[in-house]
């Protein structure tokens, strides 16, 4: 025997069959290897039989049901993905439209109104008295109107002496009447007092309640005043004689908006003798203010004057030819000063 038993069994393990005559001869002559071969054949037969076992009933049905389910979900997923791709267009379109509308709205807010657009302040609803304080704060025009009315009649008069507005549409905060008993502060304390009064003014117009005692100290530290307002205060220092106008300061909130539109109205004693003018910066950005002025203090129809406000709040008015319009200076000062317009050169244009 040329092959050993191990070699023959290794061959059977490896090939699963007797593939050589030498191995065949060995198996026929070796009882142990013959038994090994017989058993392997029995095992192999059983293994083959395992491959022919019956399958459970409904195998096909169950497989097909699951495949069908998977196919449906696959199609749904595909449809969903397709829909998702289409849906990308939706948000993009909405985003685009939103940006478009937002940009348009922003332009509308920031754009100086056309000369024919400003609505006379008298025709606007003056609702700061009727509405809650927060809403009144949002309405710049009524606030400016209120301030104007409170000071315009008598320039240089202290706040305490200012009579309450007689117009039913103008706000008449109760807090103002309360604060009227406060004696005027000395001129040396003016800057801090001015800020405090400004805060008081806001509080008055917003909540119509007297400020708490500690608020004054807080205001001295600038805690309740926006930084931009304080900057404006520094940029436009009050002259020594400004004590008489402290009560006429407009809402600092209104002035903190560089493009805010402020409307002022003359006292109702001469409502029919007023014209609408706009005060806008000659260059760059700045407040765009709508004013109602007596015709004598306004440019001729269609005319434009130049108003120069110096840092010390001095006012110079020239017509288009450069001629000083000193006759209108006092009235314009009374109207413009309470609005705390930042120093600079402005164009005063008569609209109506």
């Amino acid at each position: 025997m040329a092959m050993t038993c191990d070699e023959v069994r290794e061959l059977i393990n490896r090939e699963g069959a007797i593939t050589s005559g030498e191995a065949n001869s060995h198996v026929h002559e070796c009882p142990g290897c013959q038994e090994f071969w017989d058993h392997w054949q029995a095992v192999r037969k059983e293994l083959h039989a395992m491959g022919e076992e019956d399958t459970p009933p409904f195998l096909h049905t169950r497989i097909m049901a699951h495949v069908q389910e998977a196919a449906e979900s696959e199609h749904a997923k595909g449809a969903w993905l397709f829909g998702l791709k289409k849906l990308w267009a939706g948000p993009l379109l909405v985003l685009f439209l939103g940006l478009l509308l937002g940009g348009y709205g922003l332009v509308q807010v920031l754009r100086p109104k056309a000369p024919s657009e400003p609505v006379p302040a008298a025709s606007r609803p003056l609702s700061s008295k009727q509405k809650p304080g927060a809403e009144a704060k949002a309405k710049d025009a009524p606030a400016a109107l209120e301030l104007f009315k409170s000071v315009a009649p008598v320039a240089g008069q202290s706040r305490e002496a200012v009579p309450a507005p007689s117009s039913p549409s103008a706000p008449a905060p109760a807090a103002r009447a309360d604060s009227a008993s406060t004696p005027p502060a000395p001129a040396g304390e003016r800057p801090a007092d001015l800020q405090s009064d400004m805060a008081d003014e806001r509080k008055d117009s917003l909540f119509a309640t007297p400020p708490p005692p500690q608020q004054k100290g807080a205001d001295d530290k600038g805690a309740f005043q926006p930084l931009s307002n304080r900057f404006e205060e520094r940029a436009a220092p009050e002259p020594a004689g400004a004590a008489s106008r402290d009560s006429s300061r407009p809402s600092a909130t209104a002035l903190s908006r560089p493009k805010a539109e402020l409307s002022a109205q003359l006292p109702e004693s001469e409502p029919l003798a007023s014209v609408v003018c706009t005060l806008s910066p000659l260059m760059g950005s700045g407040p765009f203010i709508s004013l109602q002025l007596p015709p004598s203090a306004a440019p001729p129809s269609g005319g434009v004057w130049t108003v120069v406000i110096s840092p010390d709040s001095a006012l110079r008015v020239q017509d288009s030819a450069g001629k000083p319009m000193d006759a209108s200076l006092a009235t314009l000062r009374d109207v413009i000063h309470p609005l705390h317009v930042p120093p600079g050169s402005y164009r005063l244009k008569r609209i109506s």
Partner: protein
Amino acid sequence: MGLVLVYPWSMADAGPMGQNRSRDWDADAASVTRFQAGHEDAFEALVRSREREVYRVALRMLGDPDDAMEASQETFIRVYRSLKDFRNDASFKTWVIGICMNVCRNMLSSTAGKMKRKRSPLARENREDGEEMEPALQDISPDPASMTLGSELRQALGRALHALSPEHREIIVLRDIQDLDYDQVGLLLNCPVGTVKSRLSRARQALREALEGIWP
């Protein structure tokens, strides 16, 4: 289920497989062609053609009829999803069994601990603590008529198969139970024929050791 499906036959040309073409191959190829042409009803013919083989492979790999059913369903779902990319120059049967093997491997690896406890018949039968024993693997044979004289060997074979490592088990399932030739087994296991034979020899030796007392 983190294993990557590798279909080695996708790299094989028709040369080695061409000689194994048969009427079944042609019928499968026709159904595949129809399916790829958009006739989804052709898929049912493919399922009907290979579902039994797939189930048996899964049953022998996993050892549990429920798991085998689940693996069969998953196999044909994967077949459905991939059939559009199947190259018809290979054997559909081999391809499907390869997918089934991958599914079984994934199930074995994902639930290795659970299945090991559940289906270690030799370990279970060697227990002497008197606890209630789980159903032995011979129960997976659904045909009571097959419980003849040869059933003792079949039962022992079932237990021995599941005592093997998955690598040894799968090569015996492919070659000795499914009767695939060495080329097909090599394609499925992504190894040359020589490696298939040596691995098969070690697997049969391990099976013989597991059948100690029955196979000398």
